[in-house]
Symmetry: C2
Subunit: 396 residues, 2 copies
Amino acid sequence: MHPVAGVRLGTACAGIKEAARRDLVIIALEPGSVCTAVFTRNLFCAAPVTVARDHLNRTVPRYLLINTGNANAGTGIRGEADALACCQKLAEIAACPTEAVLPFSTGVISELLAVDRIQAALPAAWAALVPAGWEDAAHGIMTTDTVPKGASTTVKIDGETVTVTGISKGAGMIRPDMATLLAFIATDAALDQKLLQHCLQAAVDRTFNRITVDGDTSTNDACVLISTGGSSLPPISEANDPRYPPLVAAVCEVCEQLAQAIVRDGEGASKFITIEVNGGREEQECLKIAYAIAHSPLVKTAFFASDPNWGRILAAVGRAGVDDLDIDALTLHLDELCLVRRGGRATEYREEAGQAVMDREEITIRVELNRGSAQTRIWTCDLSYDYIRINAEYRT
Amino acid sequence: MHPVAGVRLGTACAGIKEAARRDLVIIALEPGSVCTAVFTRNLFCAAPVTVARDHLNRTVPRYLLINTGNANAGTGIRGEADALACCQKLAEIAACPTEAVLPFSTGVISELLAVDRIQAALPAAWAALVPAGWEDAAHGIMTTDTVPKGASTTVKIDGETVTVTGISKGAGMIRPDMATLLAFIATDAALDQKLLQHCLQAAVDRTFNRITVDGDTSTNDACVLISTGGSSLPPISEANDPRYPPLVAAVCEVCEQLAQAIVRDGEGASKFITIEVNGGREEQECLKIAYAIAHSPLVKTAFFASDPNWGRILAAVGRAGVDDLDIDALTLHLDELCLVRRGGRATEYREEAGQAVMDREEITIRVELNRGSAQTRIWTCDLSYDYIRINAEYRT
């Protein structure tokens, strides 16, 4: 991953849930950086989300403080005090206002945070701060993730090289709504605050907000975009600046890679499934159908079993809540293979061909509604024994 | 199960999916019986649902013809012709109009019906027609069910004994919407058609429409209520007749037993979970929260593991889509144990007490919203390895 001028990262082992596991990360931003974020819309948002939102409204952040192993969610007023106490300790070390620290937590819900262990490990994370710390940090924010998730790209704009680098975590409780689990993306391009927010929203809407593993929206979702201004490119402050679209594209590219990495690493996932719904009257109805398919336990188990039991896909479409849909106009493909035409089984369909597609590890389900020009695309995974094992044994 | 005067049932082995398995049922109604039904609202409703709806609109049914092993769904026009061909054959044997036969199918979706095998087995089912055939019929409609489901009660009304008896099937693809999987309930009380529909709707709304196993609504849901008039009780034709409420109560009792039996036998289920949401502004918001909890794979796996990881329940409440909910007013109980008070962990809560409740096989989750007087109650089950196994191996 390319370092981003103006960003340093430090990771340490605080022993929050397990000993000798990297579980504490500091991300330090050079003065002059700006920062924006989107957070979970779950009403039971975690204490660090409440505190981070508040701090972000009050000052320009200098430090992000992230722990895994405990989500500090469902912990009430005590949880907020705990999040603040961690920020305060880092602020002392960094000699900055407490409000300049944004806290993020992920892990078990409804248990109290081990504040003392986090405070004790902060000096080690502080001492570890380096521009090349992205990969270590990607490890330091993992929960049930089996692989660290990072993405990085560079783009030439007006002859200047601009870098976009990001990390994310997440594998279960993934159905982001306005945000994802934890993701931190930085660019050395200089954007003003308003444009940065616009850029993040555009990227999130097309990437993190288009994935689902299990339909469960986390209490701790947060996605942060940082602009350090460390590149030689002069600042961008208008959306109609011709330098803005290539930057948005680069941020989207990094976000899409990070979002897809979360689905590929979905708890117990053995298949990566793209769902395209085309020909709708509006995107909202395409999304309803796409998520009905993506959340159907029966569709997901059929994919796990590589069983071309595509009647389950039709059943999911039929219960998606798009009430005036003409099912006789519907077409269904798995990759290049047509299964359903005009609402009924395609005459040329053969079970062996269906089996051959289902045996693949990456499969696209394409539904054509044939009633408009709206479309959408989301990514999901199958549902396996391992999902049950991981979530049944999560706290043991 | 008590026989119902005016109803005879016959079951046979047609070899539709497996050899030597009871998979074909005829229910014969004496002339004078009336019959009403509610069907799935899944847009991809199966061919037999389309045909049964049509027949029910055109004449008074004399025979119900039910097969398991194949749902005859996703089979288009050919599927409807197949369903009709089965009805025709039975009509020939019974010397009645084809429209007097209502077809019902359950089993694999998107495969063509073995019409010849069904037609060949009809004489055997016909020969088996007896008033005491309920238990055999309960076996004859099972799919992934591990136990046959029947319920029966008698009630004295005006000194006359009235009987209500029913059977149902279902274990997966269970989130009924206006109906359930297959359920057939009969009473020997005489009700006119309109009142019978009212009675069925009242019972279904409180029972079959309050259960979920996996959130997947079937393409074949149907629930039929038969009134034979075989008892000595004079006909009831007005809802304000004092004899009507005790009859509705008896029908509800039978439906509740059948609905709960479906959840207890939910695919892979090891726990029976009642979810009560009280203190809402309207029932709709209580239902949203109840179903968000019931459909959360994370809540369901925590119950499977007997893990008091109740933060997952809070997270489900928080994403249920009741946007103006004040989470600081919320109280959460598992059976008698208070976990959350005023939105935060109850101070007296101890993990050991949570563990003791979670170890039970039947558990009630009670959420108090404290903002109104609406309430609801639904039933669901946990999500286990066996759900995955059953649905991954379903067609093999």
